[in-house]
């Protein structure tokens, strides 16, 4: 794994990892979004044979990031699960059981439609609209209200991607971290997700994930 890239917001250090997550140094927390667990299972149940390795490797990547940064807190900014319950979620539960001391916060996203009991069993603290810590606020879809209170927002939902144009009109798209002066959008954690291409404005920062590197695009 490439060394993560630091990004400082309001004197806090956020390390952007090529593993599609952010390490928040001051809180010793890992921030992720849009994991869409159970998505492959949902597809398979309907006769679409998508390989489950996407899912298992997503979980392995999460595991290695947690170990790498030695965090004690995981903040999931929405869309932990993809759809209704299926057996693939059992694998996540087993995975969860291996980290009893890890605190997990989920800020509910539009896909998080599972039974309350399931979250309880997984020892996940569920926040319905937002979670605020210090000067920062976490919500699934960048909500405008909080910005007025001067809190910096971390959100997901969008699955941002950026198109990088080379010389001679070549272009490729990559998942990215997208920072404006009031909010940030994380790349979707799951690799079984598409990209919504963003068009960054002046003064906004974009970090593209190019294989195992995080590259500042602007």
């Amino acid at each position: 794994m490439q060394y993560p890239v630091p990004h400082i917001i309001q004197q806090n250090h956020f390390w952007l990892s090529s593993q599609r997550c952010i390490f928040w140094e001051e809180e010793n927390a890992l921030i992720v979004c849009d994991m869409h667990i159970g998505k492959t299972g949902h597809f398979r149940k309907s006769g679409i044979p998508v390989s489950q390795r996407v899912y298992t490797e997503d979980l392995q990547r999460l595991l290695s990031s947690i170990l790498f940064f030695k965090v004690d807190k995981l903040i999931i900014v929405g869309d932990l699960s993809h759809s209704r319950s299926n057996r693939e979620l059992d694998l996540f539960q087993r995975w969860r059981a291996d980290f009893p001391s890890l605190k997990i916060h989920l800020i509910k996203g539009n896909h998080d439609i599972l039974n309350e009991r399931w979250y309880k069993e997984c020892k996940i603290t569920v926040h319905h609209d937002k979670l605020c810590i210090e000067d920062f606020c976490f919500c699934h879809d960048a909500c405008v209200k909080e910005q007025k209170k001067g809190k910096y927002i971390f959100s997901g939902h969008m699955h941002p991607g950026v198109r990088i144009r080379g010389m001679a009109k070549q272009s490729l798209s990559f998942p990215c971290f997208y920072f404006t002066d009031t909010y940030c959008v994380l790349p979707a954690f799951s690799k079984f997700t598409g990209l919504a291409l963003i068009k960054p404005e002046e003064k906004e920062s974009v970090f593209a994930i190019v294989e195992n590197d995080v590259m500042k695009v602007r």
């Binding site: 299972g41 398979r44 006769g47 993809h82 299926n86 010389m167 009109k169 070549q170 690799k191 598409g194």
Partner: protein
């Protein structure tokens, strides 16, 4: 048995002679072979009674079986299954057949079954099959998803496949092969009999193979039958005439010249009873229609527009008005390539390259229907260089060179869809069905491993994490493979078919009435109040409601024209070869000036055109008029293009047939390498990628590509290291396959191919009609699945198929290889022109197109042309 001695023949020929007709020789031949129990192919052009060759043959056979009571017999079960690729054809054919049955006083029923057939009618058919069923390949597969379907076909005597040349070479053709294999062998296993198979085909280069593909399954579990090819010897004379611009642009570019020639089209329309104007794209046909109306308002009401995205009812109306001779002209696309004859059509105009000889002839054949009439077709170039194609086409037509349609092989997506179809109602047993599938031409070489792979794909979903997996599609019940889940079965039924189109929305007037289809991405760019053109009408966008685009009429002067992302046909290999040979003549003609022999002069009929003088400093002289040369002077286009060729020769070189021209030019955009193999845009795309890869091994360098049918461009920010020392190696056939695979573009191309494959193979679900929302959590794009499969399941069958399709069809690997062999034996000429040349200009403009809006493009091209002309 001599068919002419039979009662059936007597009845039919009496009926014909009562109408003052007698059978054509090829029809009699067909009847004889049908009586003999043979199968085969009838090769006949549209409009000379090809339908009757097989249809009357099946009637004769029936009368011979029931000579005493053939009139009374009804409810005989299916006798003739008539497969047609076009829904629009079904009605006309049905009507013609019904008329015959009526006049013969017989009791046969003619049924039509396709997407337009009402449910009640379909149910009537399944209760009691009509004697003749006219059906599309898709509806036939849907029939195989019905309970007791083998019963429907038990009595079947003949399967006729109309327009087989059109189906062959597409996945719909593969669908036909599969359905036929099931019907033929289903009947065999029930009653130990097989129906006859008859294809009806226009002339193609590989008729023999076309027959072999169609009849392949007949040889299963019975003695080999070669089958018969019956040729209708009716070669129509074709007259080709080019429409010349007043001035030959020395820096041509595609897409703008055509419409400027509209004023030359109006007199042609006026002088002919009915004219068909063929345009290559739907978007351009909308523009042509509007322009014709604004330049010749008197034609309002007498011209119409016809293309595949116009609402079905409106198209039917146009077709009926065409039949009735009510229209002076119809602007159309390939949508009118096929189908029944429109007798009033006297003249055809082809706008832009027809891309192939066969298509050009097919379109020409839309005019002049009486057996001795001449088919008249005008060729209207969309840029001046395209005039060379007219000359090449004339040669090709003279020599009767016609393209082949290569049948598709091992389409796993279609096979997965097919076995799932079979699993819906009756289920299948893998071993039995595999033998049957192998009896088709498409799958005769399928390996056991590939088959097992397919079975794993549909039963256990490839490989899975056992304990957490709930994959469900086909379940196995005592060895019988069945889909038991009703939702999955329903989803599958909705997905049957192999034509994958862009996400389309229907447009409808707020006051009611559907107009046609536009692609979702175009709609997404519309704001309420925006005006666009569809089906020749100006429409104001109101809103989207329940997936329908609501519009109202608009009188706005300006409107946007939707574009549809249809596949662009590449230039065929035959036409490419003819083009290279034609360029040879350019050099030949340089010595002699335009011939003005007396036999070619029609003094009364002069048109102004620019011609070249002996000096290279050519100027257009508007006052100078030369007599029109007769169409059969094969080189007139080349004479007209002389100024362009002279400039090309001055700046660079005009390649001979045994030469490959490469131009290296430096501009503000970077370093360009232009290559002109004349092999069609797809082969060029592949060649560009391979060349880029091979050059990048000499030194690290990145490129962008652009291409048209004549050549391609590599553009880089660094000088491109291609010279006499390495150029033959760069075009070598060695390691071709590996180099294709390594060139980045293969992945991008495969990703595009995968779009269709994913839909056909059932990976991407496009939603229930009208209720997209319910399947929201199942939505994914084919490109996402492509990435996921590539990373986690690189051996996936459908993924591999995407690459195979890229190599076989997209890149036309065989053609690519032929081209490279040719290049190795030819002279490669490398030139370093100081400026852009007439040959490279259209490619250069095409590559700018992506980045610029059309007005800006026009402006910039003008500026470039002026600059270049003054240099």
């Amino acid at each position: 048995m001599d068919v002419r001695q039979t009662r059936g023949y007597e009845v039919i020929s009496e009926w014909l002679s009562a109408k003052g007709l007698s059978p054509f020789q090829f029809q009699e031949e067909a009847w004889q072979h049908i009586t003999n129990g043979e199968s085969g192919l009838v090769n006949a052009p549209t409009g000379c009674g090809k339908t009757f060759s097989v249809f009357l043959g099946s009637l004769i056979e029936f009368i011979n079986q029931h000579p005493g009571d053939y009139k009374k017999k009804s409810k005989q079960g299916l006798q003739l299954l008539w497969l047609t690729p076009l829904r629009a054809l079904a009605k006309d054919i049905g009507r013609a057949m019904e008329a015959v049955i009526g006049e013969l006083g017989m009791n046969w029923k003619i049924g039509i079954r396709n997407g337009d057939t009402e449910i009640a009618e379909r149910q009537r058919q399944t209760r009691q099959m009509p004697e003749v069923l006219i059906i599309t390949p898709e509806s036939l597969h849907l029939l195989l998803a019905q309970k007791n379907y083998p019963e429907f076909f038990k009595t079947l005597k003949i399967i006729a496949v109309d327009e087989w040349h059109e189906l062959l070479g597409s996945k719909r053709g593969v669908q036909v092969e599969l359905a036929i294999s099931r019907i033929v062998n289903g009947q065999w296993s029930m009653v130990n009999r097989k129906p006859l198979l008859w294809g009806i085909s226009a002339t193609i280069g590989n008729l023999e193979q076309a027959k072999e593909v169609l009849l392949s399954t007949l040889n299963f579990e019975s003695e080999k039958k070669e089958g018969i090819i019956i040729k209708a010897e009716m070669r129509k004379r074709v007259e080709i005439e080019s429409i010349f611009p007043d001035e030959i642009e020395k820096f041509p570019w595609a897409g703008h010249l055509g419409i400027k020639l509209v004023d030359k089209v109006i007199p042609i329309i006026n002088n002919s009873k009915t004219t068909l104007i063929f345009i290559n794209t739907r978007g351009m046909s909308e523009i042509w229609y509007q322009t014709l109306l604004s330049r010749a308002p008197e034609l309002a009401g007498a011209i119409a527009l016809h293309h595949g995205s116009i609402e079905h009812e409106l198209r039917i109306w146009v077709e009926e008005a065409l039949h009735a001779g009510k229209l002076k002209a119809v602007v159309c696309t390939a949508s009118l390539d096929l189908g029944v004859d429109f007798r009033p059509v006297e003249t055809v105009i082809q706008v832009g390259s027809p891309k192939g000889v066969a298509r050009f002839l097919q379109r020409a054949g839309r005019s002049g229907h009486s057996p001795d009439a001449i088919s008249k077709i005008y060729f209207l170039p969309t840029h001046s260089l395209e005039l060379v194609e007219a000359a090449a086409l004339k040669n090709a037509v003279d020599e009767n060179i016609i393209e082949s349609r290569e049948p598709m092989l091992l389409c796993f997506d279609v096979l997965i869809q097919y076995v799932c179809t079979l699993a819906i109602a009756e289920g299948f047993r893998p071993d039995n069905i595999l033998d049957e599938i192998r009896s088709t031409y498409c799958y005769r070489e399928i390996t056991k491993e590939e088959w097992d792979n397919i079975l794993a794909h549909i039963t256990i979903g490839g490989t899975a994490l056992r304990q957490y997996d709930e994959f469900k599609k086909i379940e196995i019940d005592n060895g019988l493979y069945k889909i038991k889940n009703r939702r999955i079965a329903m989803r599958h039924r909705l997905q049957i078919g192999t034509i994958v189109s862009e996400a389309m929305l229907r447009a409808k007037f707020v006051s009611g009435g559907f107009i046609g289809m536009i692609e979702e991405w175009f709609v997404s760019r519309l704001e309420p109040g925006d005006v666009f053109t569809l089906a020749g009408r100006r429409l104001e966008f109101v809103m989207i409601k329940e997936m329908i685009v609501l519009v109202r009429k608009s009188n706005a002067k300006k409107s946007r024209v939707p574009s549809w992302q249809g596949g662009r046909m590449p230039l065929s290999a035959n036409l490419g070869k003819k083009l290279r040979e034609t360029l040879d003549k350019v050099r030949g003609s340089e010595a002699s000036n335009v011939k003005r022999e007396t036999e070619n002069v029609e003094r009364a009929d002069v048109i102004p055109i620019a011609i070249g003088s002996e000096t290279s400093n050519v100027k257009y002289d508007p006052g100078f008029k030369i007599p029109r040369l007769k169409f059969h002077d094969p080189n007139i286009e080349l004479h007209v293009l002389r100024p362009l060729f002279e400039l090309q020769e001055k700046l660079s070189h005009v390649p001979k047939a045994n030469e490959l021209l490469i131009e290296q030019i430096e501009t503000d955009d970077g370093f360009h390498l232009f290559v002109y193999p004349f092999e069609g845009r797809l082969v060029h795309e592949a060649m560009a990628a391979i060349l880029a890869y091979r050059i990048s091994r000499i030194m690290p360098i990145t490129f962008s590509f652009a291409m048209n049918d004549y050549g391609f461009e590599l553009l880089s920010d660094k000088p491109i290291p291609v010279d006499d020392t390495n150029v033959y190696d760069l075009f070598s056939t060695e390691n071709l396959f590996q180099d294709i695979q390594r060139s980045v573009n293969a992945t991008e191309m495969a990703k595009r191919k995968f779009r269709d494959i994913a839909v056909i193979g059932g990976l991407v679900f496009q939603g229930y009609p009208g209720e997209q929302k319910k399947a929201r959590h199942l939505q994914s794009s084919a490109s996402l699945l492509f990435s996921v499969f590539s990373e986690y399941e690189p051996n996936n069958l459908l993924l591999r198929q995407a690459y195979t399709e890229v190599f076989a069809q997209q890149m036309e690997e065989a053609r690519l290889r032929d081209m490279l062999h040719r290049v190795q034996q030819s002279n490669i000429i490398i030139r370093f022109p100081e400026q852009l040349t007439p040959f490279c200009f259209p490619i250069k403009v095409d590559s700018m197109r992506e980045d610029l809006s059309s007005e800006k493009l026009e402006e910039r091209v003008r500026r470039m042309q002026t600059q270049l002309e003054s240099q």
